[in-house]
């Protein structure tokens, strides 16, 4: 077995190709996350800059404005922290410790991802529905939007849980005798 393994031919890469791999702009995953992050952050920042005048922020009470702004700002901060975490996959001095720490981090991220999205949704719904004269059509519309948001949260939770469960099995296999 060892002879077969050792005789496996290797496709060598040049130092220039290896040097290119150190850059975020050529990284297969981080590059996409960075573009998505920049687009989302720009959209939230534009909304923050114009909401007060364009969407009648001044006519709403301070706490509605506060929840709305808090929702947007924490969404930006959460996106940034997610990007930084995606850069660091190695979390310990051996594989077992690294997986244990990485799993703890993923579980925290699952909670904060749900919390962050929930706060953003509450802020948006509160802000845009405040002061509206309610009739059955508007109530149905708000309930429909809330249901879509809730479904999004459920899908997000399922995605995180699936990944966590898979890593839990791998981590257990590493530690088992």
């Amino acid at each position: 077995m060892k002879n077969l393994w050792a005789s496996q031919p290797i496709e060598k890469k040049s130092k220039d190709v290896l040097a290119e791999m150190l850059k975020v702009k050529s990284h297969p995953v981080l590059k996409k996350i960075k573009i998505q992050l920049l687009l989302e952050m720009t959209a939230w920042l534009i909304l923050l800059a114009v909401y007060y005048t364009m969407f009648d922020g001044e006519k709403r009470p301070w706490f509605i404005n506060f929840v709305f702004m808090l929702g947007l700002l924490q969404a930006i901060a959460y996106n940034l922290s997610g990007y930084l975490a995606a850069k660091n996959l190695v979390q310990g001095d051996n594989l077992f410790n690294s997986f244990t720490n990485y799993l703890k981090q993923l579980k925290k991220f699952r909670s904060s991802a749900i919390g962050s999205r929930l706060l953003l949704m509450i802020g948006l719904i509160l802000f845009f529905s405040y002061g509206l004269e309610m009739n059955s059509r508007r109530i149905i519309a708000i309930l429909s939007i809330s249901s879509i948001f809730t479904l999004q949260l459920w899908i997000l939770y399922q995605q995180w849980t699936k990944r966590i469960k898979k890593l839990e099995v791998i981590s257990k296999n590493f530690g088992d005798g």
Partner: protein, 159 residues
């Protein structure tokens, strides 16, 4: 560590990364992506390399860690093409060797991620102590598990 020194280190040890990509990804595109992710993570972790272990041990640890934790795309239908035309004159012996290598890699790929890591380290002649340090388990545990994995591979190869 300076970038040039780092690149020289990776260049000299890229066979380790190449083999791990072969074991943990099914398509060439995914293997290339993983190779890049491993080099990137090594560069980010290199300041934690204290020099009291062999550089190859450090590279194995980061590479295996990355291969298992990095985001993996959902499995696609795999259509594999060989990059060489079959040559009639190809020695029968050589063909048999290639087939045996492919069978070995296929048998290892069938193992759980943790077992794949253990057997890859053993096949690359790391001692039980070194394997234990990389994985985070005792030498005895390594010995028992390697023995079990070898038996499993033998069974797969003979059936």
């Amino acid at each position: 560590m300076e970038e040039n020194q780092f690149l020289a280190l990776i260049s000299a040890n890229q066979g380790i990364i190449y083999k791990i990509c072969q074991l943990y990804r099914d398509t060439n595109v995914d293997r290339e992506d993983l190779f890049q992710e491993i080099v990137f993570q090594l560069w980010r972790s290199i300041d934690r390399f204290r020099g009291d272990a062999k550089p190859s041990t450090f590279i194995y640890r980061i590479a295996l860690n990355t291969a298992i934790t990095a985001f993996k795309k959902e499995k696609r239908a795999i259509v594999s093409y060989t990059d060489q035309l079959p040559e009639i004159a190809m020695e029968a012996e050589q063909t048999a060797l290639v087939q045996r290598k492919e069978s070995l890699f296929a048998a290892i790929r069938k193992l759980e991620e943790a077992d794949r890591a253990l057997i890859a380290l053993w096949l690359d002649e790391l001692s039980y102590r070194e394997i234990g340090e990389i994985i985070g388990i005792s030498e005895n545990n390594v010995a028992v598990r390697i023995s079990r994995i070898k038996n499993r591979i033998k069974t797969t190869l003979t059936t």
